[in-house]
């Protein structure tokens, strides 16, 4: 933000952490971490997934108890045991829209997690008051289920501000927002910091964002603080090196740590001239309504040609999950068609999409991607079981051999094929899902948020694999809310908004401002282009 560092020396330290240590079994998530927050600063906490930044924040908010270390507020030592106590100390956390209950209204959600009797009028008044004060407009009586991602985050922020915190923690706040909404968010934060003297900890793995929005930056890697810098004196490449521990070259890698989209696009491109060939996958006028009448897909059409990666960019909740589920045979379209190589595929018919050569890596890995209660070998063979049975009896040797082959090829870390999938780390589970998807020689590969929650190494790996798949003639549909990821990996980008595709551009023509407008649903932008 703007340099609002006080002229009269350093502002006072509000919160100080020393020697914070947290172990989870054999893993040290935080190792002797020191961290401080001053009044009136936005402090970026940068690090890749698994660096320990979330654990550090959880200890601050009382969701995890430290194994060692001291916390001081205003110089007084204190212990934080739960979020409610943290709130009473003036520490609040803005969660990533998963602390909201859809079925409840805004004011009820704001009231959740407080103590004392439930007072509708006072809560509503406070919600309205906070909304007006910080420009976070939202209807207190609206059910949360009807709100967009941006509005939901407003509710999260209001929920946090309701306790009048002096310290705000934001964990990856922009991952579900349009660029415009992100900007608004940082305006609100900047305002609070200036006017109210908040101290803000901004947890992020996006370099770009941290460079733009913060005053100081603490960089974590492998559970330790590796560097602490004043933002004004920092530069992107050294931060990236500090964060990953090695130079990052790959586009995918750059995307993984949130380099600016311009940088990523400026990187080496990949042009596919498949325009002439017929599309592998075609979705035409797909229309789908939820049982409660909400429009999920609204005449959506898109095509994927052989050898290309098509990115579906969009703010979460605009129809990405329905597409992924339709292509997984989990949902039946009300109208419209899905075609593979020109042949229509019945939607919602068990296994029909898979049989037609569409494989899906879903965003909700546990819910629809794999079976944690089954063995790694069984998970790897899920899609090809019928081929591994003789007259209905499973050939165990073959299942095992198949598993060993894929474990080797996809570098899955596992003690034995018989280990339960649920015992694997997130990255390894994702490799299993990917390995199974690739093992059936698909025609179309759909990847929905394939890298969420993975570390840089795994992200790079997945990126390479998607590229390799496309180079092998497969049509790849990458559905992601991460513009960096889309920009880094795709050949062509379509923008999804409220269940329809409202814009399309080649990667080489990527204009970030234009894209941002489209993400927010501004169709005039399309007209102007």
């Amino acid at each position: 933000m703007d340099g609002h560092n006080m002229t009269s020396g350093e502002p006072p330290i509000l919160l100080e952490l020393r020697g914070m240590t947290k172990r989870y079994g054999p893993v040290i998530a935080c190792d002797d971490v020191a961290f401080s927050l001053r009044r009136g600063e936005i402090h970026g906490v940068l690090g890749e997934n698994g660096a320990g930044k979330s654990t550090l924040m959880k200890m601050l908010i009382g969701l995890a108890l430290p194994d060692g270390g001291t916390i001081r507020m205003d110089g007084e030592p204190c212990r934080i045991v739960d979020p409610i106590q943290a709130a009473s100390l003036g520490i609040g956390m803005v969660h990533q829209h998963y602390s909201l209950v859809d079925a409840l209204t805004v004011w009820e959600n704001v009231a959740l997690g407080e103590k004392g009797s439930l007072a509708r009028e006072t809560t509503r008044d406070r919600v309205v008051g906070i909304s007006q004060r910080y420009g976070l407009e939202v209807d207190p009586d609206a059910p949360v289920r009807d709100l967009t991602a941006g509005l939901r985050q407003r509710v999260e922020i209001i929920k946090c501000l309701r306790h009048e915190p002096r310290i705000l923690i934001l964990d990856e706040p922009t991952s579900v927002l349009t660029p415009e909404e992100s900007e608004q968010l940082f305006e609100v934060l900047g305002e609070g910091v200036r006017r109210e003297g908040w101290a803000v900890a901004l947890v992020s793995h996006k370099l770009d964002e941290v460079l733009q929005a913060t005053d100081r930056i603490t960089i974590m890697r492998d559970g330790r603080v590796v560097e602490q810098v004043v933002t004004a004196e920092a530069d992107a490449s050294s931060l990236a090196r500090a964060m990953v521990g090695r130079p990052v070259t790959l586009r995918a890698g750059a995307a993984a740590i949130g380099g600016s989209v311009e940088q990523i696009v400026a990187g080496p491109g990949h042009e596919v001239s498949s325009d002439g060939r017929p599309p592998l996958l075609e979705i035409a006028d797909a229309t789908l309504r939820a049982p409660d009448g909400a429009v999920l897909l609204d005449g959506l059409s898109l095509e994927v040609r052989p050898g290309e990666i098509v990115g579906v960019a969009g703010v979460e909740g605009n129809g990405q999950t329905p597409i992924s589920r339709v292509l997984s045979s989990l949902l039946t379209l009300d109208a419209g068609r899905v075609m593979v190589e020109g042949a229509p595929i019945p939607t919602g018919k068990a296994g029909a999409m898979a049989a037609a050569g569409i494989v899906v890596i879903p965003a909700d890995r546990h819910a629809s991607g794999c079976v944690p209660e089954m063995s790694v070998a069984e998970n790897l063979a899920l899609s090809s079981m019928p081929k591994m049975a003789t007259r209905g009896i499973l050939r165990r040797d073959e299942i095992n051999a198949h598993a060993l082959r894929l474990i080797d090829e996809f570098d899955i870390h596992v003690s034995s094929p018989d280990a339960l999938l649920g015992e694997l780390s997130g990255g390894n589970q994702q490799r299993v899902v990917l390995a199974r998807a690739m093992s059936v020689d698909p025609k179309v590969l759909v990847a929905h948020q394939p890298t969420r929650g993975l570390d840089v190494g795994a992200i790079e790996y997945i990126g390479e694999r998607l590229r390799a798949a496309a180079d092998g003639g497969i049509g790849v549909l990458l559905i992601s809310t991460d513009l960096g990821e889309i920009a880094a990996l795709t050949d062509r980008i379509v923008v999804i908004y409220r269940g329809a595709i409202i814009g399309e551009m080649a990667r080489s023509e990527l204009d970030i401002e234009h894209l941002g407008l489209l993400l927010g649903g501004s169709v005039e932008a399309e007209g102007a282009a």
Binding site: V101, D102, A103, L104, L112, G113, L118, P291, D292
Partner: protein, 311 residues
């Protein structure tokens, strides 16, 4: 067939059937109100059947020991609560499957009630009828609603009380939240499984009271077959009501009416097949559930256990 319909018309125009519908439906309503709260918090609590039976039995014992209907009702509450304690702690502390626990609890209560009844053989008398002046003079519904044994009237304040608890208190807000989205509730600082256990306790208390009401306010004797699956009908009443309070009570009364119809037929001198009549409430329940379950949005996390970090 014409005979049949004229018989039905005749039966439904008789005022006695409404009185008995309130009694029989009231019994289901006690349990259904508690079950509604348990389901709002995310549990399909099939041990409500066990809670009813336990409440009926301890209610009978309580009366036998003290010769006091109020104390019998209190004893019934404890009986129902005891079953709820087992259910809640097994399923929402130890994370055993809620249906397995519920089913086993039902079997256990049935065995215990039978065994203890054979050994203790409590003597029970029915509570006195209390006609509420003025109100009981209203035609048709007056005697049905206000000319009952006095424990029946305990139900009436429980309806607004349950509404107030669910919709006007922080506890109720949290109960609804954990039934809809336990993960989000957890992040907001709510002890999800604790709220779910408490909701089951509430269900147990009401079912226990309902069971005691059955024995002390309705039949005037104890029999292990007295509950006979009506706990499951209480669950169906919650579905019938689409997880709303008013609908649940209405559902209980509809099922009560079906039960009352069954009893009224022979009393009024009609001969319909006895087995068909006995099956009627259950058939009606199934038909209603078939017709209605998809129409309403159930609590999103209904019957899904919450274990932190596991979806």
């Amino acid at each position: 067939m014409g005979d049949f319909f004229s018989a039905v018309a005749d039966i439904f125009s008789s005022p006695t059937i409404y009185g008995s519908a309130v009694r029989l439906g009231g019994f289901i309503a006690f349990a259904a109100l508690g079950e509604l709260v348990a389901e709002k918090a995310g549990t399909i609590n099939i041990s409500v059947e066990g809670s009813l039976l336990a409440g009926a039995f301890t209610g009978a014992i309580g009366y036998d020991l003290t010769r006091s209907v109020p104390l019998g009702l209190v004893a019934g509450i404890f009986g129902g609560l005891l079953v709820a304690l087992i259910q809640a702690n097994m399923s929402h502390r130890l994370t055993a499957d809620q249906f397995v626990v519920g089913l086993t609890a039902n079997v256990l209560v049935l065995g215990l009630a039978g065994f203890l009844n054979a050994n203790l053989d409590p003597v029970v008398r029915r509570a006195s009828v209390l006609e509420i002046p003025v109100l009981s003079d209203i035609p048709l519904i007056g005697p049905a609603l206000f000319g009952q044994t006095w424990p029946t009237y305990l139900l009436y304040p429980l309806v607004p009380l349950t509404w107030w608890l669910l919709y006007k208190t922080r506890w109720g807000l949290e109960v609804r939240a954990v039934g809809e989205n336990p993960q989000a509730s957890d992040v907001s600082g709510i002890d999800v499984n604790k709220r779910r256990r408490q909701a089951i306790y509430y269900g147990g208390i009401l079912a226990g009271l309902g069971g005691a009401f059955l024995v002390l306010g309705q039949i005037g004797s104890f029999d292990t077959a007295a509950v006979g699956g009506r706990g499951f009908i209480a669950i169906a009443a919650v579905y019938f009501g689409g997880w709303t309070l008013f609908g649940t009570v209405l559902g209980a009364l509809v099922f009560g009416l079906a039960d009352a119809f069954r009893l009224a037929v022979p009393v009024l001198g009609y001969h319909l097949n006895a087995q068909m009549l006995a099956a009627l409430p259950y058939v009606l329940t199934l038909v209603v559930m078939y017709a209605i379950t998809k129409q309403f949005r159930q609590p999103a996390a209904l019957s899904r256990p919450f274990i932190r970090g596991l979806r």
